[in-house]
């Protein structure tokens, strides 16, 4: 068995209103960034999975996304896999 770190991005499906993205898109011009458009807000989920190989790890993480991590009615997901577990991701080190 090998360890893989999965980095999962969950976002709104195209055509589904993204209220947080909309608010940020309206806030940025107030700070002088009038050149910004298409703001989308999603979730980033990281986890370490044990699997015989990368294909098996990917298939299992996809299943987790379909069953729990994303709601296919309104959300899309994408998965990146990295060999070896990296328990302290940069996001967790920051205070």
């Amino acid at each position: 068995m090998s360890s893989y770190e999965a980095r999962i991005e969950v976002g709104h499906r195209p055509g589904i209103l993204d209220p947080q993205g909309g608010v940020i898109e309206r806030a940025l011009p107030a700070l002088g960034y009038g050149n910004v458009s298409h703001v989308r807000v999603g979730k980033s989920i990281r986890l370490t999975v044990e699997a015989p190989d990368e294909a098996a790890a990917r298939s299992e993480v996809e299943e987790m996304c379909r069953k729990l991590l994303a709601n296919p009615v309104i959300e899309d997901f994408s998965i990146e896999l990295f060999p070896g577990d990296t328990p302290e991701t940069p996001g967790q080190e920051q205070v």
Binding site: G15, I16, L17, P19, Q20, G22, V23, L68, L69, N71, V73, I74
Partner: protein, 217 residues
């Protein structure tokens, strides 16, 4: 015989006592059902009360749908048993696939806590059978994620099958097609964002919710 109303309670549910009280006042017999028990007991009707089941972590209702009681609720619904989800309960029924669509953050990111006018769109459901089509009901809403969304095909189906149960007279949250409540194709599972249990006695400011809860009894 007195109708037994099972009120499903998850960790974080906070409206189960209000629902139980309203059921009792209206002549039913409330029974609190705990989420970890894989049964709806002897309930004739099941209500999923509002709150923040399992903290609403990840998404509203996302964890709650895997609670042991939910298999029993799904089985009860499949057999034609009346199931109603109020607010967080509506969100859970959508996550569980017992109702279509999803509820996401309100347009404008506003938490809405106010009494609103609702229009009864169909009386052919377990929750509205004692109401009248076109009747306006004043009932409180209290939510951050009540913005109903679904794809075009699903919306077309909801309209064609008369599954839109309640609409907001003035849309408070960006909800698609002003939808405040829907039902399944069998018409025995209904979800709604407003809280009828908070409008069952005049002293609460409105008794308009009573006609809905009485429809269950």
């Amino acid at each position: 015989m007195t109708t037994r109303v099972g009120v499903v309670t998850f960790p974080g549910t906070n409206c189960e006592q209000d629902v139980a009280w309203a059921v009792k006042v209206l002549g039913g017999e409330p029974q609190i059902l705990w989420h970890a028990d894989p049964t709806v007991g002897s309930a004739d009707v099941v209500v999923l009360a509002g709150g923040f089941a399992h903290g609403d972590y990840l998404r509203t209702g996302a964890i709650a749908r895997f609670s042991p009681v939910m298999d029993a609720v799904a089985e009860f619904a499949r057999a034609g048993g009346p199931v109603v989800g109020i607010c967080n309960g509506f969100q859970i029924l959508c996550e569980a696939g017992l109702l279509s669509g999803a509820l996401q953050k309100n347009a404008g990111l506003k938490f809405r806590c106010q009494t609103v006018d609702l229009r009864v769109e169909t009386t052919s459901t377990v929750l509205t059978r004692r109401a009248e089509t076109g009747q306006i009901l004043r009932i409180p809403i209290n939510h951050f994620e009540g913005n109903f969304v679904c794809d075009e095909g699903t919306l077309k189906g909801l309209r064609e099958n008369d599954q839109i149960v309640l609409r907001y007279v003035e849309n408070p949250n960006g909800s698609l097609d002003d939808i405040a409540g829907i039902c399944n194709e069998g018409r025995n599972v209904v979800g709604l964002m407003p809280h009828p249990e908070r409008a069952t006695e005049a002293i609460l400011g409105s008794a308009d919710g009573a006609v809905l809860l009485r429809s269950l009894l």
